[in-house]
Symmetry: C2
Subunit: 134 residues, 2 copies
């Protein structure tokens, strides 16, 4: 049983037994599962942005949450933060090559999702109707 | 500004303005971001499973959480649940064609993650060292 579990998760979850925060795909899915990360990646895929520009492009994000989101992306090497020694200091954010690569991966999932959106909605409606009548 | 936001999220977040639970990619990323969904998909990609078999394959999952996870996957049309009229009733779960398609998508992300795992770890280590010294 232990072996089979290793086998299955070995392909889809390369490090299920290690520390949660460093756990490859788990870590990545956690990031993508948070509301803002994907939106920040999307905005940066259109070009370099200053902090204020990001904030304006993402209505509803708090300053604290945006700071946290870009800091995590920077820590993972997806985003590069540049500080220009002006007064006041100007800070810009842009995707690294790795960040661009991740964004393209996410886009595949988004395309898949768009393609299947109506089917999913139909399935959910059917399922709910069946349960109401059960 | 509103237009630009629509433009960017139009590509990566097809329905950011609609109800959260039905919101295409957001909904999907939420599912994938939860600890168990990806593991259940992985286990079912190896073949049909009974409830007990799934439970044994996913050490640490509670009965309630597994019930919830497979129910959501069933509701989205990713998993088909079959009840055999035996005593006690036997229930099996298997991936639908759509579930198989999603699992292949997830696998791409997992492969990407495995490929970049060491780079990410290195980036995080560097970032933390820089902040310690700042």
């Amino acid at each position: 049983m232990g072996d089979r579990h290793m086998g299955v998760t070995g392909s889809l979850e390369p490090c299920a037994d290690q520390d949660y925060p460093d756990c490859g795909v788990r870590h990545l899915l956690d990031r993508l599962g948070d509301r803002w990360t994907v939106l920040v990646l999307a905005e940066l895929s259109a070009g370099t942005r200053r902090f204020r520009e990001l904030q304006r492009a993402l209505p509803g994000i708090s300053q604290r949450m945006l700071t946290l989101t870009v800091r995590r992306l920077e820590r993972d090497g997806f985003v590069e933060r540049t500080v220009y020694p002006s007064v006041p200091a100007q800070v810009t954010y842009e995707l690294t090559a790795r960040g661009g690569s991740l964004t393209r991966q996410v886009r595949h999932l988004v395309d898949w999702s768009a393609e299947h959106k109506d089917d999913l909605t139909a399935s959910r409606r059917e399922y709910d109707a069946r349960r109401r009548n059960a």
